[in-house]
Symmetry: C2
């Protein structure tokens, strides 16, 4: 292990040069004209792994390929499934970049490029870790399977069905995902929970067609007005969701987790300043971090119907729809919550309108025990690299692939990210600090050894 | 008067031919490419009145011209201001017309063309009435001023300021508007009230920018959710508006008016069938006609903000706007109601958002006494033509020019329309029954005499 770490330090310049080559490929998954570049990035990373001794394949999907690469030379040892994504966000707005997004530039100890942190730079830490071990020891202390997708930035449509259909091929003892950030610079961080998601559409229908408000106003159903009443009924003024049974299966964080969160370097006033509000709204009884990580939510994303353009139109809308979603926490189940939502919404419908609730997507919440062997191995590795033990956080977002690992593969996922909170993900001047790149490689080297026993 | 009526009957064929010529001009005011046609229609009707002995002028505005034509040869006698509009709605969808919209066609006793009833055919009844009197008696029993606009179908933007600025030129003892319909075929109808309008926009602002619902959901203000709560608070489930003081100045119709409405041939079940609802929503304590004519309303017309397109986006909207309007009844004052709305909306704003209420437009309600001399003169004229006394109705809509006559000129407006409820206004196959065209001319002839004394 020490030799591998030493090798990685020696080869640092070449590793960076290779990452720059990878970052030069503008693999923007949402842009149809970049389809060839996305395929090129898939081939690049698959070839790279092949040359390291992995058995690689590029599997076509309806859209962008999935790259799989296995090294299974440690029979009897545990298997680690390394997940990452080689696609990137669009670079727009281009004029706000200080250097071109696909011409990686090192400045003040950081590499600036689209995808530097999210996620090419981070998935490359796993690749360089296996290289360092293979080149020094000749074999890995664990079996390693790479699962790299090119559709993460567009919602992983292919992977959602791919994972359950390839249970045997993907079978592993733990998954490793590096697609996140340290809670603060220098503070190693393990993410032990993700909120789930339930995305739905509510449609209200009133009169046969749109009506003139002068001719019919006062005796005709207004679908938008009715929709507003339904949406308002979903939540009280304190931000508490009023759907009966909604909180029934919410498992609160335990006391140890809560007090660990309270010790995190988190400033509620700074949080409010960042989003531009005097006071953060929501459930006052809970600290902000708990609201973000362990409390379920309901947000309205958009409302359509009637006339919302420039000027005035005196229309009584006959149809209106709203997109709403809920972030769910353990042990809420999306299917059950959807039924509760549907029942509640139907009951709220005012006289004269019909209501339909449509399920658009869902992802179950995930929680990983800090006592899972892989998480303990990751914790030891991080402490060795950073000199301090890691903090345990959760994320308010949802990562469908981690939910799929949990549900279909029945494995725990180690989520150790090496980005920084100010890495400008999805924004101009995305960056990845070189120190974090090196620490990520070393942490992965150590993790493979710690977990391999 | 009898000679004039006889003349109109004799000249019936020519009058129809002239109206057809007028209808051939596609004066669609909302279509920029029809600007020349709108101007041509203005010149046509101005020239027509000039040849009858009127002093005509075509006055340019920022958009379509206003036609003014005066005959002031009866000093000491009252003056009637005849209002009409020579612009028309677009004819789309063209494929649903049985004959081309600008090639007027007579079929089964009705003239089919865009503008036949709304309003070229109806304004032409006034023109032909003055012709019949002038050609038989040599002079009119009243002074007559025509005020004809080309922007009615786009909201009369020029006329709104024109009327108050031309108080002296437009001075009259009563106004006459024929731009409506009989309550039922054969039933002469005088409209004695219009609801007013207050159109406003509510804007809610939350965070500095749109936020990701995974990262911030639970502790960030959702502008759309807050807007829904505000809109829902405006009305209770029975359709009653909850703004304090809102109903304070509502003057109920008197007992005579109420019982007259109860005798009108109006079928509540048929009304519900037309709009496609089982039960008409709204204030159950009031009959539907009273809800439509004498009760104020509040309707939501459109909501913008966040993401309402195809698919899913997990955005917490930082800004959201709603267009709302209220139909007002006597003696509600738009300025006062706007202040009440603003105060109420600000108070409803949930924590973490700022709210702004913008006034977009307003028109005061109008009520005309059935005892006003001009209305009594119109009633006698209608009874003479139809053989039965007129019914008195109101309209749930708003006609800004009638409000302007009421406020700026301090005169009563006689609203006697000769269309039918099934004339297909603003729709394919607009028509005007020939019998109604003739009755309209005769009623106007009689009205000028009755009012002139």
């Amino acid at each position: 292990m020490d030799q591998a770490v030493a090798y990685a330090r020696e080869q640092d310049g070449r590793f960076l040069a290779e990452l720059i080559e990878f970052l030069r490929i503008p693999s923007v998954s949402t842009a149809p004209e970049r389809g060839g570049d996305v395929a090129r990035a898939a081939a690049w990373i698959a070839g790279h792994l092949e040359r390291l001794g992995f058995r690689s394949r590029v599997e076509p999907t309806d859209l962008h390929p999935i790259v799989r690469a296995d090294w299974l030379g440690a029979p009897g040892r545990p298997t680690v499934l390394c997940y990452g994504h080689y696609d990137v966000q669009p670079p727009d707005p281009l004029d706000l970049w200080n250097s071109p997004p696909f011409e990686p530039t090192v400045e003040q100890g950081a590499l600036y490029a689209r995808g530097a942190s999210d996620d090419k730079g981070q998935l490359f830490t796993h690749v360089k870790a296996v290289e360092a071990i293979l080149r020094t020891a000749g074999s890995l202390p664990v079996n390693v399977k790479f699962l790299l997708e090119g559709e993460e930035e567009i919602g992983s449509p292919s992977l959602a069905t791919y994972v359950p259909r390839h249970r045997r091929a993907l079978a592993a003892d733990a998954a490793l995902v590096s697609d996140g950030a340290l809670f603060a610079p220098g503070l190693p961080t393990l993410t032990t929970g993700l909120r789930g998601l339930l995305y739905a559409e509510i449609e209200v229908s009133g009169a046969r067609c749109d009506l003139h408000s002068g001719q019919y106003g006062g005796a005709a159903p207004n679908a938008l007005g009715a929709l507003a009443q339904i949406l308002a009924a979903l939540k009280d003024r304190q931000g508490r969701i009023r759907i009966p049974g909604y909180y029934g299966r919410v498992r609160p964080p335990d006391d140890a987790e809560r007090s660990a969160w309270a010790r995190l370097p988190f400033d509620e006033v700074a949080f409010c300043n960042v989003i531009g509000v005097a006071v953060a709204p929501g459930e006052e009884a809970y600290p902000i971090l708990e609201r973000l990580w362990a409390r379920p939510t309901l947000d309205v994303h958009g409302i359509a119907g009637g006339f919302a353009g420039i000027g005035m139109k005196t229309v009584i809308p006959s149809r209106a729809t709203a997109k709403v979603s809920m972030r769910l926490v353990p042990d809420q189940r999306p299917e059950r919550i959807f039924k509760q939502l549907e029942r509640f919404v139907r009951r709220q419908a005012p006289p004269g309108v019909r209501v339909e609730v449509r399920h658009l997507a869902s992802t179950p919440p995930v929680v990983v025990s800090p006592d899972a062997p892989a998480v303990r191995a990751a914790a030891r590795s991080l402490e060795a690299v950073f000199g301090v033990p890691p903090v345990y956080t959760r994320s308010g977002g949802s990562i469908p692939v981690v939910s799929a690992f949990d549900r279909s593969l029945k494995i725990s996922t180690v989520m150790m990210g090496f980005g920084l909170p100010d890495d400008n993900l999805h924004a101009p001047n995305e960056k990845f600090a070189l120190v974090n790149f090196r620490q990520g490689i070393e942490a992965a080297i150590r993790f493979f050894h710690e977990f391999g026993g």
